[in-house]
Symmetry: C2
Subunit: 218 residues, 2 copies
């Protein structure tokens, strides 16, 4: 049996290690989990004993194949629940994360497969992140950050890097949603702010915003 706490550590290691490849440091896990490094050391030993992680003292952690599978399954559940909350229960995209953090730990194979079908097998969550399928396959689309575009690029918004409420509400206020089309018209060298056009209306966007919005160039 795997505990809720173990699941959360595995998920953190998965996300911090760029989806399971890099070595993850004790301190980075501690920061992500809002806990102390010494607690992380203990837990990481436990995950290693249970076969979910590879760990050598002072060398950081990676997930084993089994650990990675667990992580992907939690991510799948998290994102499916987020779709449910937005599509069926009228949550807005800045309200779903907290609740999904709880729902992702519910253990029932049937629940998730039925939920998946009920939602008509969605491929992406409300923030544009891909939903792993039941075999764990993740369908990545080729998206880049708005900050990486060049002048003249015609783009469509496909995701957010940060999904904090503050950022999502900023996007709502400025009528930027997934699917919104925009053109990059100017980049200010001094502060790297970007001017974009949405339906011929100009909008100036800070570098920080541009660094958190994913687009697809068409």
């Amino acid at each position: 049996m795997i505990t809720l706490t173990e699941e959360n550590y595995i998920k953190a290691i998965y996300h911090l290690g760029k989806y399971g490849v890099d070595n993850v440091s004790t301190n980075s896990i501690a920061k992500e989990m809002e806990t102390k490094a010494s607690s992380v050391t203990d837990m990481v030993k436990k995950l290693s004993d249970k076969g979910y992680a590879n760990y050598k003292k002072y060398q950081g952690v990676t997930l084993t194949e089994e650990g990675k599978e667990i992580a992907i399954n939690i991510v799948r559940k998290h994102r499916l629940w987020e779709v449910f909350l937005v599509e069926k229960l009228n949550f807005s995209w800045d309200e779903v994360h907290e609740v999904a953090e709880q729902l992702e730990h519910i253990k029932s194979k049937k629940l998730i497969s039925q939920l998946d079908a009920f939602l008509e097998f969605p491929t992406h969550d409300p923030h544009g992140d891909p939903i792993p399928d039941k075999t764990g396959k993740i369908n990545k689309i080729d998206k880049i950050l708005l900050s990486e575009t060049i002048i003249g690029d015609q783009c469509i918004c496909v995701g957010v890097q940060d999904s904090s409420s503050d950022f999502l509400k900023y996007l709502d206020k400025n009528k930027i949603a997934l699917g919104t089309e925009l053109v990059v018209s100017h980049r200010e060298p001094f502060d790297n702010s970007i001017t974009i056009k949405i339906k011929n209306k100009e909008l100036i966007i800070s570098n920080m915003i541009a660094n958190n919005l994913f687009v697809k160039v068409s």
Copy 2:
């Protein structure tokens, strides 16, 4: 903050004490929770300290008003989730309880009020049990056990006492569902078995079955 374990104890005390009125013994809680009496004593002290229960050594436990509110809210969540699983995710009524035991602990006011609306404010769960409304009001219908009926009674099935998978599957097999109409045609004095007629087809039902099926006499 209330822990998941505390919530489960409060729920057990609520159900054992006939919905909050009777004193509940340490041993009965231990049996219900599949734990030891000594563990119950510890927890019951804690619930009392936190203001959820009234407890005097050797005298059993009752819930305080606050404890009762918590219990009713958990029951509300449990039953709403059961409706969701049956109505939306095609679970059968013998599959929902286990999953609802997990889902009932998810903490989000908005989630439950939206779920309630999405399900169109159901008044009863798939087993015929009433769903408390958001203020905690429980709409009891006047149901009796099939074993308490008299010969000639025309009944409609409205609920089950036991919701174990074995019992519910028995009902399925014999085409007895909530809403099914039946007439009580004979009672055998020797073993208290009952003969019922459903659509003119006779069926003999043991006393144990009759003791677990609620009906409304019309």
